[in-house]
């Protein structure tokens, strides 16, 4: 088995195993240092980011909202984790020169052309739908897919299967046809 992939990346099984070790280390570190076990996740941070942004224009509205109250609008462990993902990806891609300014990805371009506006609209609308779904299901491929599956949670097994099932059907409907 090759340790490097054709695009200069690391073998995905190896990188994945390291992420598994990171998840264990992180669970231990948060339990011992913070007194509360935190599992890797990402989507709740988007709720907190929305709350922080809304709070700057309508503080009362955020304070009165049940969901913001439930998820607590603050810069917590997971918020910084998500910020860290940006820094880690930047460092890694700069160090092996895989950093690339990309306005429109190739598969998208084959189907919808090189318009940045179309891509922006797709990403934005897709983002809205995906996040409403992730909050309803109470997790995303990090929270359910990684952390929930590591704990063998029932909800995570169902969620992960449906993330992929629904995603595969949608992707085939959207991208399988080539642009004329």
């Amino acid at each position: 088995m090759k340790l490097k992939t054709a695009d200069g990346g690391w073998n995905p099984y190896f990188a994945g195993a390291l992420i598994g070790l990171l998840a264990i280390a992180s669970v231990l570190a948060t339990t011992t240092l913070l007194g509360k076990t935190s599992y890797l996740g990402a989507s709740t941070t988007f709720v907190r980011a929305a709350g922080l942004l809304e709070r700057s224009v309508a503080a009362d509205h955020v304070a009165e909202n049940d969901y913001f109250t439930k998820e607590k609008v603050r810069i917590d462990w997971q918020f910084m984790l998500v910020a860290g993902i940006f820094i880690g990806a930047l460092l890694s891609s700069k160090s092996d020169k895989s950093f690339k300014l990309e306005p429109v990805p190739p598969i998208w371009k084959d189907r919808f052309g090189s318009s940045i506006y179309k891509r922006a609209a797709g990403a934005f609308i897709g983002g809205i739908i995906a996040m409403i779904g992730a909050r309803m299901a109470d997790g995303c491929p990090s929270g359910h897919g990684l952390s929930g599956m590591m704990q063998l949670s029932m909800s995570s097994l169902v969620a992960l299967a449906l993330f992929f099932g629904s995603g595969m059907i949608a992707a085939n409907l959207i991208y399988a046809r080539r642009r004329k």
């Binding site: 994945g16 598994g20 941070t45 929305a50 998500v82 990403a123 609308i125 409403i132 993330f163």
Partner: protein, 176 residues
């Protein structure tokens, strides 16, 4: 910054670094997996689950940590996950990878992130309605697969390992 925030940041930097090295952040890999053409993200995700699962189950058995199952709220998980999958296919990122993709220069991820923040804000407004409808239908609570089936979680872990192993074999045979 508090210890909590510093710890989150350090963990996130390593997480982002590994996700980038594994080449799973970009649109091509996410959609490649959904089109069954490039299973890199599944290989990485399932390897992480296998390693993490063993450690977390041992720590839980030893009483060092407490498991934190997310609620098996039937309607919410099913409808939410289906919506997520559809949005994911259009966006080409999931919440965690969108931030990483921005970090490696794929700046169209910015629009995905903006959409997700708006989606979170919409969900917060819809929450009272969702709480009285979808969330109130049928909640099985915070249960593990092992409890639901009535076996030790190590039995479930072995089944998961065998299934993932067979999937890895298929991916490698088909070179996807």
């Amino acid at each position: 910054m508090s210890i909590e925030q510093i710890l989150g940041l350090i963990t996130g930097i390593i997480f982002g670094f590994l996700l980038q090295k594994g080449r799973v952040l970009r649109f091509e890999k996410q959609i490649g997996a959904l089109l069954l053409k490039d299973m890199t993200i599944i290989k990485l995700m399932f390897s992480a689950i296998l390693v993490g699962m063993v450690g977390i189950l041992i720590l839980s058995d030893a009483g060092v940590i407490k498991l934190s199952h997310k609620p098996m709220n039937l309607g919410a998980v099913i409808i939410g996950a289906i919506l997520f999958g559809a949005g994911w296919a259009v966006m080409g990122f999931c919440p965690g990878t969108s931030i990483g993709a921005l970090g490696e220069g794929r700046w169209h991820a910015f629009f995905a992130i903006a959409g997700m923040v708006v989606g979170a804000a919409i969900y917060a407004e819809l929450y009272p309605f969702i709480k009285s409808t979808v969330l109130s239908w049928q909640d099985f609570g915070k249960i593990g697969i092992a409890e639901a089936v009535g076996v030790s979680h190590w039995v479930v872990a072995v089944v998961v390992a065998v299934v993932f192993g067979l999937m890895f074999r298929i991916f490698e045979k088909r070179n996807i």
